[in-house]
Subunit: 391 residues, 2 copies
């Protein structure tokens, strides 16, 4: 794991050269319950007492932590100076900051990116109490978003590995998903496999995988039903994100439940083509320098041009340690997405491209793929679904 | 699970009668990564978009959530009114608050209790942007701490269950922990058992269990060493917290590694008696109405009276969904503990009582028990270790 934290701290030092603050300060306590999503990027394991992890523009890294937390940090080798304390963090923190003498300190709070918003309001107030008006406290949102979003080679490799394991599960799904079997049973089969392998869940286990069978299924983040069974003439759909070695996948696949000898109905084929075409339109539009909403618009307008309703979500989000990894979003300019659709796509960002249509009498037909952004444009990390298999 | 959320929401309505605000508002987004520790008390599962969960003094419960998150909340039956939105939370949230017309709104931020500090600073700023100066925003820290700390019968039952499973692991430990075996090997045996059972970890898996063998071991929150092996004449010590059905244990046990035919050395027995006596002194002092630091002082002064150095941590913390469950603390008045040692012990609080001594040439001798507070005083939930077994 320490290869990763070393890689990310190196990246942090580089990104800090372009930041409008002099020290990046991650201020946390009891991180097992009140975790800052930025912390695992730069530190393995948890911290119990008030802890200040600082990276200075000069490249120096300093950790001020409780005495029981100091040993693992010292052993990691990632931190130039580890300052343990027993009774309180105020004095050692003030001393270290005086030495580093920053003008502005960047903190992990953000209106638009939950993954750059790990500082709690109570901890912000605590910091204000300790520091008084000695330093200017500013948002490190852009910096943290960039640090998280720009995936290193190791990170991309891990995401690919999680996708490969997800493909394995999708390849087994037809063995579990037979006509007459309930959504819930398929969900349980998949979870047993995931748990048996010791993998994690890209979003909460309760609603992962999402399994939708036919038109009566609950679309969205609900729990698969024990009362809805797989039925010929319907569409069967799974949305699954697993975490393998700390990195997540997030993939949707769908199948047509055919009667014996039945061919794929025209309305299903037409909808599949529209969804696939929209995914491809989004993929074509995904390149460095453009704003996320333009990528969403490309897919959205294609889908509408094919006679289907707009999807009620963003075309894509970043993927990393979680399925929803924050930062720039391939989404429409809706209030709930804040500034994230206006953020620029950059090289080494990893995005989902996902959308679907509700087909009357058939169910939800949705696809989700994953791509990495390179200089020359997007490259698939997943193996895109290009036809509608039978179940 | 919904029995628990219904129980806790009932308790929230009662506690709200004594609060100095009219609406308790839990304001969250992307809760799988940016979770508010108060959320699982009142809701099963996660929320993706900006979500406002409100309990009004009248008893009414209102959830304003993104459209894809609405179904499971409606199905839970816990919420009187569920308001789904598509584009943004501002309008529906303002509408619902106008209807409820609170003067003060209690929010989840806290200087002293990380478990009552789930509101991020970015989300606080977002709320300020939406609400302007229409309402007074105050800390709900005392309320959330009380809601979390006062365990319902179901919650106490679950903690007892987690303790029983922990006892099972401790009973198996001597089968793994033989002279010549490393700390790390014992740790791996225990983790394999926990993972096989599908249990969770009361604190981060990386440092759980803590395993200490002899005087060279790293005391604190570090990772057990592959290079330190169990050796006669040393003390062997484990600190373990597991989560079973969402509730945690947190127990320490220790053993003396005896040579064949050896009796327990006098210095070890003396230290064990001192630690046990201090645990008992704390237990005696633990009753409703007293402040936490007095309980710590009873144990601390007893230990010192027996000729040992003070332990460098608090005597005890609350246990619940996590091993460190926040709120009032049985701790000394040190800066790093903030106001928590001055908070009053109340009926239905559940605490650890834990301490140890470093015995020169022997290692770390520590015990940790769990007790619930009742009208008449403390009652053990764990089965206290009262002698020093041989390994």
């Amino acid at each position: 794991m320490s290869q990763l934290t070393a890689e990310k701290l190196r990246q942090a030092r580089e990104l800090l050269q372009h930041a409008d603050f002099d020290v990046w300060l991650t201020f946390v306590r009891e991180t097992d319950t009140a975790g800052d999503p930025a912390l695992p990027l730069i530190l393995d394991g948890g911290l119990v007492w008030h802890s200040a992890l600082m990276v200075h523009k000069s490249g120096e890294t300093v950790a001020v932590v409780g005495n029981y937390d100091a040993d693992p940090i010292q052993h990691s080798g990632d931190w130039d100076k580890v300052v343990p304390y027993v009774q309180g963090i105020s004095d050692p923190l003030l001393r270290e900051l005086e030495r580093l003498s920053p003008k502005k300190i960047g903190l992990n709070f953000s209106l638009d990116n939950s993954m750059a918003d790990g500082l709690s309001h109570g901890m912000f107030l605590t910091l204000q109490n300790i520091l008084g008006d000695r330093y200017e406290l500013v948002s490190a949102s852009k910096f943290v978003s960039a640090l998280r979003s720009k995936k290193t080679a190791e990170e991309v490799g891990r995401i690919k590995h999680a996708i490969a394991e997800t493909d394995t599960i999708f390849a087994m799904a037809p063995g579990w998903a037979k006509p007459g079997v309930s959504e819930r049973e398929v969900y349980e089969h998949i979870q047993r496999y995931i748990d048996g392998k010791g993998y994690g869940y890209g979003w909460s286990r309760e609603g992962n995988p999402i399994v939708n069978s036919g038109p009566d299924s609950m679309i969205g983040h609900g729990v698969p039903s024990p009362n809805i069974t797989i039925t010929p003439g319907h569409i069967f759909h799974i949305d699954l994100g697993i975490i393998v070695k700390e990195y997540s996948s997030d993939i949707q696949r769908c199948w047509y439940v055919a009667d014996e000898g039945e061919k794929i109905p025209e309305d299903v084929q037409h909808a599949f083509n529209a969804v696939l075409g929209a995914i491809r339109a989004g993929f074509q539009a995904l390149k460095p320098g453009v704003e996320g909403w333009t990528v969403d618009a490309a897919a959205r307008s294609y889908l509408v041009s094919q006679g289907y309703e707009e999807y009620l979500h963003a075309l894509g989000h970043q993927v990393g340690r979680k399925a929803h990894d924050g930062g720039a979003l391939l989404g429409p300019k809706w209030e709930r997405y804040g500034e994230s659709p206006m953020m620029k796509i950059e090289v080494d960002h990893v995005y989902t491209i996902e959308l679907g249509v509700i087909l009357p009498g058939r169910g939800y037909l949705g696809l989700e793929e994953i791509a990495v952004v390179k200089e020359s444009g997007a490259e698939w990390l997943s193996n895109p679904q290009e036809s509608m298999p039978f179940l």
